[in-house]
Structure formats: structure tokens, C-alpha cells
Symmetry: C2
Subunit: 211 residues, 2 copies
DNA sequence: CGACGATGTATCGGGCCGATACATCGTCAC
DNA sequence: GTGACGATGTATCGGCCCGATACATCGTCG
């Protein structure tokens, strides 16, 4: 999951760890608290070892003192061509973990870099999963209600409500995708395999990337 | 977290691993998928090593063949007095992890074994945490909106909606606790420290169990 | 000039997960 | 009858991720 998010973010700009964490927190704030350095740095190391990211030297604008204090500091990473391929591959293969809460959230956050067919597949997979959870909760609330205390039941009710709400949300998103009215068009840059289908936004309003 | 849930469940009845997992899934179905055996069995071992649970022998009703096939099978665990103390201690000390999604859900699921003052403290801590998340999302949606693509924004909006909804839910629960109209009275059994305050439900209307 | 908070990198122990293996039991189809 | 299948049941292993902790630099404000 972290691997996916890092590869996604580094396609927008090279970054160092601290920055990466801030951007991650902003982008994924709706679904998870804040990424831990205890997972971030080891993951960066892993991605670098795999050749998917590399260190981008800090290009010190010449004028500064060359190496007097040895100047150790931030390590900026950038994605490689192999990294972009890896990201595309991770998007394409949707496993079961793609549909759990965190996995879905992370994938959704990078829908702008995902082609429409895959978006639709993921949304439907998520819907199916939530529907199953909803049925499970209904079962418990119906059949096993007398075995549980009132607090537990209240928790189930709240969970059931959240499920129903999310299914409705997903239905809306799916309908939008089907009719071509996606919230935005996929980003077209990014060498190493362009998205094959840029759903044209017919009622065109696509929030500017930069003003 | 798992430790807490196991100690809580074993106070209702002795159980073996498989059963424990099913009960856990039923009780916590609203907040997490299903507990993995890869965490359940090591945790059981850990709890046993700490002396908080013990194996309860399978009392083979005499009539069966004594030990012809050696009869290896389910291992039933039951909670010890030290285990009950440990559980009470885990309830009393509310750390930051008590208010994250999973932690709060698990604690809430055992509110029937929690005294009213602690219930109130946990509900308010959770509310505070969700309010902070809500403010963070509002900030991002307000100040950093043009930096994010439409899908990411949609995710934030959905998250914000869920936050507002949960805060309202918590407000209701808190008001109920304050007025003594808790969904149910805490369980009174359980040796090793009875709950000190069984909030009586004065204006009794607690959602019909069955029509 | 020293305290403080933001920035920034890094490690360590441990909890939990997914995959996997394996054994028993009842039931139903062939 | 017998063999396939799904539920029951215990267990391990590698790996991801987290929380705690440590440490160093920089700008700012009292």
C-alpha cells in the first residue's frame, strides 16, 4: 500500500521523506491518520533497492560554500522508468486487498492516474465488498440480536448505516463513470505507458492543475 | 487490541480459538473484517504465558472411550483472576490508541463491561479526535483544494461527511450517558471488581429488540 | 544567547496480516 | 460404500506497518 502511494506521489514531483509524509497525509487524510516514519523510510530503502526510485542530487546552485560543513541533509528521491512500470502494474492487478478500506482509499486517491475501465472495476469490487459486509451486519442484527448487548448492537447499527451510505456513494460514482461524467480527466503526462483512454469530460469542467 | 478483545470475550464464556474468532467477527464486524489466525494463536500463547488465561480441560463426560485415538483437538481457554484484573486495567488507562478507529470500536464493543465514567471519557476522547480529523479535512478542502485532483477531493468530501456524521452520533451517545439513558446497564457479574455504577435507565425506551 | 518548534533522517521491537499446511468430521452424491 | 467436499480446528512463517525513541539542523522570538 505504502509502496503504491509513494510511487504515485513521486510521479508528480521528486520529494524527500518528510515532504512525502506531508503530502501523503494531505492526500490520504480521509482514510488514515498519518504514515509512520518507521514504515516510510524502510519502504523508501526497499523501493530504491528494487530500482523503482533513485536519489536525485540536490543541485546546490553553485554559489554556496562547496563542502565546508559536509552538508548532510535531506535526501530527495525521484521515480525511475521501472518505477512507473511498477506503478502501472500495481494499478492493473486488483487483488482482494484493493477493496479493503485502506487499499481502496489509496487506489481511489490515485484515480486521476487510472484509466476508466480500471476505475470502474475497482469501484464495483469495492461495492461488492461493502454489500457483503452490509449483509453480514444485517444478519447479526436480525438473527443474533438477543445474544449481544445494547452497546454492541448500537455499534453494528452505526456500521450498517455507514455501509449503506458508502454503497449509495459508490453507486453515484459508478453511474458517473459509466456516463463519462468523471470528476476529472486522467492526467496525460508520465512517460512509460500513457493511460489508454482519457474519458473526455463532456460537460467540461476539469479543475485546473495550476493557475 | 486483540489482547483486550480476547480477555473481554473470555469473561462471557470459555472458548477455543476457532470459536473466539467467530465471536470476534460477529461482535466487531462493524469495524474490522475478520481477525487472522496468524495473530490470534500467537496472542493466545502470549496471554497464557502471562498467566491471564489458562487451558480449560475438555471434561470428556466419562462415557467415551478414554484415550484410544489419543484425541488431540480443540484447546479451550478460560480467563484467570489475573486476566480479569488485566482487563480492568486496560479499560481504566485510555491511551491515544483508545481513540483511533479500531481501538475505539473494540472498546465500545465492551462498553457493557465498562463503568459509566470511563464510557463518557472514551466517547469524549473519540469525539475530540474525530473533530480534529474533520478540521484537517476542512482545511485541505478549503486551502489546498486547487492542488488536488477531483477524485482526491471527492474522497476528502466523503471522509468529511463521515466525520460529521460520527460526531453527531457521538454527541447523541454522550447525551444519553449524561442523562443516564444508556442503551443498557453494565453487566454485574464477573468477580474481581464489580462495576461501581450501574446507570439505571430512567426514561426507559431503548429501541425494541423484536417487534 | 538560549529555548523552542519546525524540519529532517533513522532504527528497533512488536503487533497483526495473508498465505500456507495439515488433520478431523459430517454429509451428500454417485 | 466410498469418495469428494465444506466446515471445523490448530499452527507457523515472512513481511508490512506502527509507536517510541534518538539525534541533528535551522529560524525565530523573548
Amino acid at each position: 500500500m505504502l509502496e503504491f502511494a509513494i510511487l504515485g506521489l513521486l510521479q508528480e514531483a521528486p520529494m524527500h521523506g518528510y515532504e512525502l509524509r506531508k503530502e501523503l497525509t494531505a492526500k490520504l487524510g480521509a482514510i488514515r491518520a498519518a504514515i509512520s516514519y518507521g514504515s516510510l523510510y524502510p519502504t523508501l530503502r526497499r523501493l530504491q533497492a528494487a530500482g523503482w526510485i533513485t536519489e536525485a542530487n540536490e543541485t546546490p546552485t553553485v554559489s554556496d560554500v562547496p563542502a565546508l560543513t559536509s552538508r548532510r541533509g535531506r535526501v530527495v528521491y525521484k521515480i525511475t522508468a521501472e518505477g512507473k512500470e511498477r506503478f502501472a502494474q500495481l494499478i492493473a492487478q486488483a487483488g482482494p486487498e484493493t477493496y479493503d478500506d485502506t487499499g481502496f482509499g489509496v487506489h481511489f486517491a490515485f484515480f486521476a492516474r487510472t484509466d476508466q475501465a480500471t476505475r470502474l472495476r475497482i469501484l464495483e469490487g469495492r461495492r461488492r465488498k461493502i454489500e457483503e459486509r452490509r449483509e453480514g451486519l444485517r444478519d447479526v442484527l436480525g438473527r443474533a440480536a438477543e445474544r449481544l448487548d445494547a452497546y454492541t448492537l448500537e455499534l453494528q447499527r452505526h456500521g450498517l448505516d455507514a455501509c449503506e451510505r458508502e454503497v449509495r456513494w459508490l453507486e453515484e460514482l459508478i453511474a458517473n463513470e459509466r456516463s463519462g461524467r468523471a470528476p476529472t480527466a486522467p492526467i496525460t503526462g508520465a512517460a512509460g505507458g500513457r493511460p489508454e483512454d482519457n474519458s473526455p469530460p463532456p460537460p467540461g469542467e476539469s479543475r485546473e492543475e495550476r493557475p
